[in-house]
């Protein structure tokens, strides 16, 4: 029994964490996409400009990177989804009104307690290319 105690403790801990994790990121409620992350963006980051702004080639590269890394959650058309677990659209007014610097901040830091992982391991150039692609998307209807 002594040797099984660590396993029991570990399993119990994982069960608690699973519940917490589900409550935070597995929730079917789309209202969690409240845009509060924008308040955490520093002025310096907010004012940053994309080095690839307006470059069609960067947007074309960003489309491939998006398909490889982002589409699995946000959808191939970046429309998000309402079915559980809900994911935000990247064509929304909020994203369209956010600056390139805001989105770059989000990609670097993520919003882990709302389900968005950090993409800091993706090279910065590729994150800017994704932003260039997002800027080519038409608004949601």
């Amino acid at each position: 029994m002594k040797n099984r105690l660590p396993i029991l403790l570990l399993i119990s801990g994982l069960a608690v964490l699973s519940y917490v994790g589900y409550a935070q990121t597995g929730s079917p409620d789309a209202s969690k996409f409240d845009g509060k992350w924008l308040r955490r963006v520093t002025d310096e980051d907010h004012a940053r400009h994309s080095p690839f702004a307006g470059q069609p080639q960067a947007a074309a590269a960003g489309k491939l990177i998006f398909a490889e890394n982002c589409a699995k959650c946000h959808g191939a058309e970046a429309n998000g989804r309402s079915t559980p677990p809900a994911r935000p659209s990247l064509r929304s007014e909020r994203v369209r009104h956010a600056t390139d610097g805001d989105i770059a901040w989000l990609l670097r830091n993520g919003n882990p307690y709302k389900g968005m992982p950090s993409w800091s391991s993706l090279p910065e150039q590729q994150r800017w290319q994704v932003i260039a692609f997002l800027r080519t998307l038409p608004p949601a209807k």
């Binding site: 990177i65 490889e68 079915t83 709302k114 391991s121 590729q126």
Partner: protein, 298 residues
């Protein structure tokens, strides 16, 4: 009920996902021992096979095989299960044990040095030859016992690591500090691992290609033991270092390779490591009723 299996749509879907779904590359670093602060993307399952071959001086050559299942439980928590086995020339093939580990990102944003916490329970026998965690005075001596002898001794171990990681100008630099406690009344043991890597190209290409430079990453890692609570330091410890490379096949697996070289008398001369990792996307979607991307969410 011989066909009951085929009457379960969720099970069939699960099987289909494993074999038919696009297998994506993760944010993989070409490290074998060192952890970066990167976590598995939430909902994704990575399946990896990690192999090691070596021929220690004065011992039989061996190969070690580790199956890794890594699941992104949330954006701040990744859980992983390892099952290990090894084959020794002129001896036998044995299952050596399992490990359950969890990695957490305690802070909600990135910093110059981003920390992550690693907690692990492992139940492995002395026959383990994975050399994935070098702590205390682990060394070449343990490879001299036969599998029949060494598999009798099973260690129950708790291990904690502080993972530090920095991303700067395309480079990733990661440092791990390891503390391990064998539950059988052994002293705390310590170890370290340090690694750095960089993709060959930082920007993505405009066309889809397999052998583009951005799909390759080169790096190096060094790791070893730091003795025990009572004998902290480099004395009678083993250390390894070597270059590493990985190749991320678009919509396919990531293949990694590394020759690693022993740096002390207590180390194995050369380790040949390789790994193949597949990432199954959004596994958790299978457990929700509606899988279609239908309505837009603002």
């Amino acid at each position: 009920m011989p066909f009951r299996f085929f009457g379960q749509p969720k099970l069939l879907t699960l099987v289909a996902v494993f074999f038919l779904a696009p297998l994506l590359h993760a944010q993989e670093k070409p490290y074998f021992v060192t952890y970066s602060a990167d976590l598995e993307e939430p909902g994704n399952l990575e399946i990896a096979f990690n192999g090691l071959a070596a021929a220690p001086k004065g011992s039989n050559a061996f190969s070690n095989h580790t199956l890794e299942l890594e699941y992104g439980a949330t954006a701040w928590w990744t859980a992983e299960f390892y099952a290990q086995a090894q084959s020794t020339a002129n001896d036998s093939t044995v299952f050596t044990g399992f490990r359950i580990e969890n990695r957490f990102r305690p802070l909600p944003r990135e910093y110059w040095v981003t920390p992550a916490i690693y907690i692990e329970y492992e139940q492995v026998s002395d026959a383990d030859k994975s050399i994935l965690e070098v702590t205390g005075n682990d060394g070449i001596d343990k490879f001299r016992d036969t599998n029949a002898e060494s598999r009798k001794s099973i260690a129950h171990t708790l291990e904690g690591k502080l993972l530090l990681s920095s991303n700067l100008r395309g480079w990733n630099i990661s440092e791990n500090f390891i503390a391990e406690k064998n539950m059988n009344n052994n002293p705390w043991e310590f170890g370290y691992a340090v690694a750095a890597s960089r993709p060959l190209a930082l920007a993505g290409g405009v066309t889809r290609c397999i052998f583009c430079r951005q799909n390759f990453a080169l790096g190096a890692e060094i790791y070893g033991g730091l003795g025990t609570r009572y004998a902290f330091g480099f004395r009678d410890t083993s250390h390894y270092a070597g270059p590493t490379v990985n190749f991320r096949i678009p919509s396919g697996p990531t293949v990694s390779f590394s020759p690693q070289f022993g740096l002390s008398d207590n180390s194995v001369g050369t380790l040949w490591r390789f790994e193949v990792a597949y990432e199954v996307q959004q596994l958790r979607d299978l457990f929700h009723a509606n899988l279609t991307h239908t309505k837009e969410v603002r």
